[in-house]
Amino acid sequence: MKKKSWKSIPEGGIITTPGNSLKFKTGDWKTHYPEWNKEKCIQCLRCHFLCPEGAIKVKNGKVVGIDLDYCKGCGICADECPVKAIVMKKVGENGSD
């Protein structure tokens, strides 16, 4: 989301567009991000149930990927995975995952 200047935002910190939290990606402050290895994964779904952000995407009972827009980089998934199918990697210097 492009950030606005002080001249064009409403005064007093109010939000005049209800529901705009959908546009706010909460995962931009992580220092490490999880990398999922599809081949190693045994689909136990532990990461899915333990992720505090609901960022482990599941379709038809199977892990299909990680939503890095909302992942906060806590590393719980990597710590809990019984087969080390998730490893934490450092976020690049330019801030990208």
Binding site: K3, K4, S5, W6, I9, P10, E11, G12, G13, I14, I15, T16, P18
Partner: protein
Amino acid sequence: MGVIKKAMTGADAAAEAMRQINPDVVAAYPITPQTPIMHRFAQFVAEGKVKTEFVTVESEHSAMSACVGAATAGGRVMTATSANGLALMFEIVYIAASNRLPIVMNVVNRALSGPINIHCDHSDSMACRDSGWIQLYSENAEEVYENNLIAIKLAERVNMPVMVCQDGFITSHSVESMRVLDDASVRRFIGQYKPKHYLLDVEHPITSGPFDFYDYYFEHKRQQIEAMTKVIPAFYEIVDELGKLMGKHYETVEEYYLADAEFVVVSLNSTAGTVKHTVDELRKQGKRVGALKIRLFRPFPREDIAKYLRGKKAVAVLDRAATFGHVAPLYHEIRSALYEFPDKPRVVSYIYGLGGRDVNLGHITKVFNELESGTAQEENYLGVRDEDEP
């Protein structure tokens, strides 16, 4: 009708203005010497003379919180406090300003504890000078009344809260002859309050007070700084209108015999009356002395101040508050307002009256004499005991 003469205390003058303003919500907690304002206002509520929702909360922190809630909902909101009550509100005082809520609060100046003291000094409102509130100071009961009317209009014009200060006991509890407007004129003058965004506007829902991270907090502070630059022009529009009703001329500061004065004393609140009286006495002896009273302290009217003080020989700034570790607040700001001018006068500081210590004609005469003889130090104390009594 029009202008009516009355005898009132400063506290009654604030309550009378509040009756005429008829705010939607008043939330307050008693504290000396503010109590008589809310005492009188509670009577107006009980007698049905106002339609105000009067919220008797359990602390000043809750009082200001209730004011923030009511102002966010879209109401015209007022309160009053003093000293430790203001200190207890402090967290919400900042939030009221940051949320840009036009709350008007009467501050009856009293020394902040400790040691505990209930008498007048300006340590309470001075502690709020960086909070984002506009601050008006009142020399007497009539100015308390006028400042309340100005404050309501100004707050709603610029979306910022306003403190109306008066000296505890000296002004708040002394009966003076003063003038008020009739109710209809006041109602016409203040008009209807129409907030741009408010919580009870269900057609245009808003979120108020959300978390503001490092990505937007700075922008909101930048807006507050900018908003303060709009206050002085708005103040002049409003006082021009009030001046027509009251038959008076108002400025952000009041000059007294400054046209040909060489030595000037600057002050806030009731001491300005003592200074003006001393000027009258010294003028009879042919002394070229004058006074400057600061009515609007936040935002600081530095251009108006420089206009009156440039070219004078020497200026003494009276502060009824101390800054521990640096010079007193009003002195600091007056000097800074004059810094860039080559014809700036010598400016010296006098701290006086802390905790209600009396200040009289003798004290102010001494200040003028020390200015004239050049014996004033940079930092001076008026009326403090330097030696044990014999």
